[in-house]
């Protein structure tokens, strides 16, 4: 990574912060209307240990939810990718489920499993994020050109060997494309539940506390913390993609 690649995004961030600070100052907004970047650091420092603790809660719940989404999404994708009948059967069901706004599911889940904070949060993170994975894997598998299968099938290779050696690696670029969408969705799911659930934990809960106590700088500080975590998670996925599906990237020439 060159200096330029690091410097450009950082410069953009600094400029954005300055613009934000200027906007609040020029309009004379009080911080219960719009907090400025200079208010955020004190708010963060005051609750620094709570931030760390809750960030960890949010992080592990999101990651576990996402892992579940990967496992279940890949399995559903495989079933739909290999069987035409299963695809016809499951597709409308999945689409319908995905169309339901998850904000409406959150209170239902919260009531179904009252007090099970970890479980509820992971469940929502999973529910919101498995769909793109399932769809991308099923499309990747069902659009595999027959010749790809034939080069191994004509040698008497088993279905399992064809899946591991050809179908799976060939689907990886689509899978990672979906995972980038899913990681952000899972993060949204986690926070939705954390905000809604009373007596919960996690950054979403901290946000809710800020709202209840009218601590606007705290609410904004949570938003910034969430943005940073979201960026980190996203780039973890990008790094994994580089390792496992880097071959799909054409060198620019």
């Amino acid at each position: 990574m060159s200096l330029k690649q690091v410097a450009v995004p950082i410069l953009a961030l600094v400029l954005f912060g300055l613009f934000w600070e200027w906007l609040v100052w020029v309009n004379g907004w009080p911080n219960y209307k719009m907090a400025s970047p200079s208010d955020l650091w004190p708010a963060f420092w005051k609750f620094r240990w709570l931030f760390l603790e809750y960030a960890w809660d949010t992080l592990w719940r999101t990651v576990v939810g996402l892992l579940l989404a990967v496992i279940v999404g890949v399995l559903i994708g495989m079933v739909m990718g290999f069987s035409r009948t299963m695809r016809d059967a499951l597709y409308p069901l999945l689409v319908g489920f995905n169309a339901i706004p998850k904000a409406t599911v959150v209170p239902i889940i919260a009531l179904m499993f009252v007090g099970q904070h970890d479980f509820n949060t992971i469940l929502i993170a999973f529910l919101i994020s498995f769909f793109p994975i399932a769809v991308s894997v099923s499309i990747g598998l069902s659009t595999l050109e027959p010749e790809y299968r034939d080069i191994l099938a004509s040698l008497g290779a088993s279905k399992v060997a064809i899946f591991w050696k050809i179908a799976l690696p060939k689907t990886l670029p689509e899978f990672f494309g979906a995972l980038k969408v899913a990681v952000t969705l899972a993060f949204i799911g986690t926070n939705l539940m954390e905000i809604v659930e009373p007596h919960g934990r996690g950054l979403g809960h901290l946000f809710d506390s800020g709202k209840i106590s009218a601590d606007y700088p705290l609410m904004f500080a949570v938003l910034i913390a969430l943005a940073i975590m979201g960026i980190l998670l996203y780039y973890v996925v990008v790094a994994l993609e580089k390792i496992f599906a880097g071959w799909a990237e054409r060198s620019p020439n």
Binding site: I151, L152, S154, L155, W247, A248
Partner: protein, 266 residues
Amino acid sequence: MMSENLIEIKGVRHAYQTGDGPLPVLDGLELAVPEGGFCAVVGPSGCGKSTLTRLVAGLMKPDHGEVWLHGQKVTGPKSTVGMAFQNPVLLEWRTILQNVMLPLEIVPNKMSKREQEERARHLLALVGLEGFEEKRPSELSGGMRQRASLCRAIVHKPEVLILDEPFGALDAFTREDLWQTMHKVKAEEPFTGVLITHDLRESIFLADQVIVLSGRPARTQYVMDVHLTGERDLEHLYTPESAEALNILRHQIKVAQGRAEEGEAA
């Protein structure tokens, strides 16, 4: 001298099930290729030539009739078959060398990893791809990819090589280059071959037997033995005997398309 036929197709009939009932593609297909022979199959497009390759490869079973390889009836895929298609289907996440070695991961063999790699490197050198072993398929031209695909098709020393229009998507000069490469490969790595092609010049340049299939449903309409003497080079395509053979084949294709009568002079 009678030599045993390595590939034999006897009275094969096959139909695909479609929404509008069965669609017959093959009806009365006969084909016999002796060991070491090279048979080209030509015919109008959509006449079931690719179905023929899938039958020989054991990837599907005919409704009627039998396919025999080396005195055994074909009931499923066999590792003694190698295949190459019009689309080279190289795996983009593997290097060229790893692509060529792929069949050795499936076919049981006694070669050590090192011997496998040596064999793959040897074949790549034979087709003129020395120095490209560590490249990715996306870094190669279409002709080079097809050469690599050919290496992969023969790396496990198959008895039967099935080529389904392998040079169909290449430009004329690259194609002629690859024809000569085919002769070089066949001299060093003997195999019995079936070549599906649309190119009549290709069929007489590469094969020693050309089979013309009729329009759908396809039956064996005409069999021609090719006797181009001596070492084949491209000049052979411009001799009077080649011109005559091409004329006959062209006429047979017209008959297959229903544009000429069987008895009509070419």
